[in-house]
């Protein structure tokens, strides 16, 4: 597979929260606004790209019996780096994301990509894969966050989008709203891909 293919598959084919249905804990918890979703996505992307690169470079050097332990150490180091950087330069975002930054360590997407992809492929392909999946994840979280923010607080990126008398559905920024929003998005994505497949089949026959 070409590098481009490795990159683009993360954007649609295996876009993490909707296709792989991985990394749902932060997906549900931090997407109360578009900005939070995007921040979380970017932090995850950073960790994902660098952990993929390092795992791929070290894949011949790490004995397979201790690979999970080695991967976790690598991932955890990058997470701590992200955490320190966020505290230093984007403190308000750090406060908003709180406990979910350290929890990137146990985000299944990152370990999943290390195990399923970077542990077997070359460094360039792994970076492309990490970038693709990371950006796919960031876009998903941002869209989900925007959806919940618009309905739940009547704003987008902190700006008002509705008329002044609009009463926001506070339900949407609470935990149950996250499940509803995720369900709606999953249904939508499945519907679109079903239609696409149908069209492809019709074109063939």
């Amino acid at each position: 597979m070409s590098l481009q293919k490795e990159f683009t598959k993360g954007l649609w084919e295996i876009v993490p929260p909707f296709r792989l249905v991985l990394g749902l804990c932060p997906t549900l918890a931090v997407t109360t606004s578009a900005e939070n979703g995007m921040g979380m996505g970017m932090a995850t992307t950073f960790v994902l790209v660098f952990s993929n690169l390092l795992v791929s470079l070290l894949r011949k050097f790490i004995p397979s019996n201790v690979r999970i332990a080695a991967y976790i150490v690598i991932i955890a180091s990058f997470v701590v780096i992200v955490e320190l950087m966020m505290q230093a330069y984007t403190f308000p975002l750090y406060r908003a994301l709180g406990i979910f930054i350290p929890l990137i360590v146990v985000n299944c997407i990152i370990l999943g990509r290390a195990e399923a992809f970077a542990g077997k492929r070359g460094p360039l392909e792994s970076i492309a894969d990490g970038l693709g999946v990371g950006i796919g994840y960031t876009i998903s979280l941002t869209v989900l966050g925007a959806f919940r923010e618009i309905l739940g607080s009547g704003t987008l990126w902190g700006l008002k989008v509705f008329w002044s008398g609009f009463e926001p559905f506070t339900f949407m920024v609470r935990a149950p709203g996250a499940f509803v929003a995720l369900g709606v998005m999953l249904a939508l994505i499945n519907f679109i891909s079903l239609k696409l497949e149908e069209r492809k089949r019709r074109a063939v026959s």
């Binding site: 004995p63 690598i74 780096i81 320190l84 505290q87 230093a88 403190f91």
Partner: protein
């Protein structure tokens, strides 16, 4: 056996490299982290008590050692100077006094030239909600503005909150503590 040694060795090398790089990152992010902590946690209080400054009080903060705590650890007082034209005309720092329920942390702004309080702001407290907790209201804290600092402030100098005499006393005590801290470290604060 060789396999086991290899596993141990590889993991050790990875962990050591990780520890080393984290120590490096920690080293160069320490100063910005301290800065942004103060900026986002303390700056609202500093802004509330100081006015008309042209500098960044958080950046120009002074750290003054003020003895040791009970465990022998050195304690520091962080002073935020307000400057105009490069000269300090007022300072703000935190002091505490015993309220009805635990210590009340108060950010106190002092103007040494006019010997007046430029304002106070409650930073932390655990007073009773609805009663003592009303000390955070601007109506109460505003009464301290412009009070003289050349003599002890008495509870009678400001109108106490009804039903919250102890909390009022705590805030007054904190302000008086700030006064004595200022007298003690005046030269260091105004350098």
């Amino acid at each position: 056996m060789r396999e086991i040694i290899r596993m141990v060795l590889v993991l050790t090398v990875i962990c050591a490299a990780s520890g080393f790089s984290l120590a490096l990152v920690r080293g160069f992010t320490k100063a910005p982290i301290d800065y942004s902590r103060l900026k986002f946690v303390k700056e609202p209080a500093v802004k509330a008590v100081l006015a008309g400054y042209q500098n960044d009080p958080i950046k120009d903060r002074l750290v003054i050692p003020v003895g040791k705590d009970k465990k022998g650890k050195p304690m520091n007082l962080i002073v935020f100077p307000a400057k105009k034209g490069g000269k300090t005309f007022a300072v703000a720092f935190e002091a505490s006094g015993a309220g009805y329920h635990g210590d009340i942390g108060v950010m106190v702004g002092l103007d040494p030239a006019q010997k007046k309080l430029t304002g106070i702001s409650i930073v932390s407290h655990t007073e009773t909600p609805g009663l003592g907790a009303r000390i955070v209201e601007p109506k109460f804290t505003g009464a301290f503005k412009g009070k003289p600092t050349d003599k002890q402030l008495a509870v009678g100098d400001i109108s106490a909150l009804s039903g919250a005499t102890m909390s009022t006393k705590g805030v007054v005590a904190a302000v008086n503590n700030a006064r004595s801290l200022f007298d003690k470290y005046r030269d260091k604060m105004l350098q």
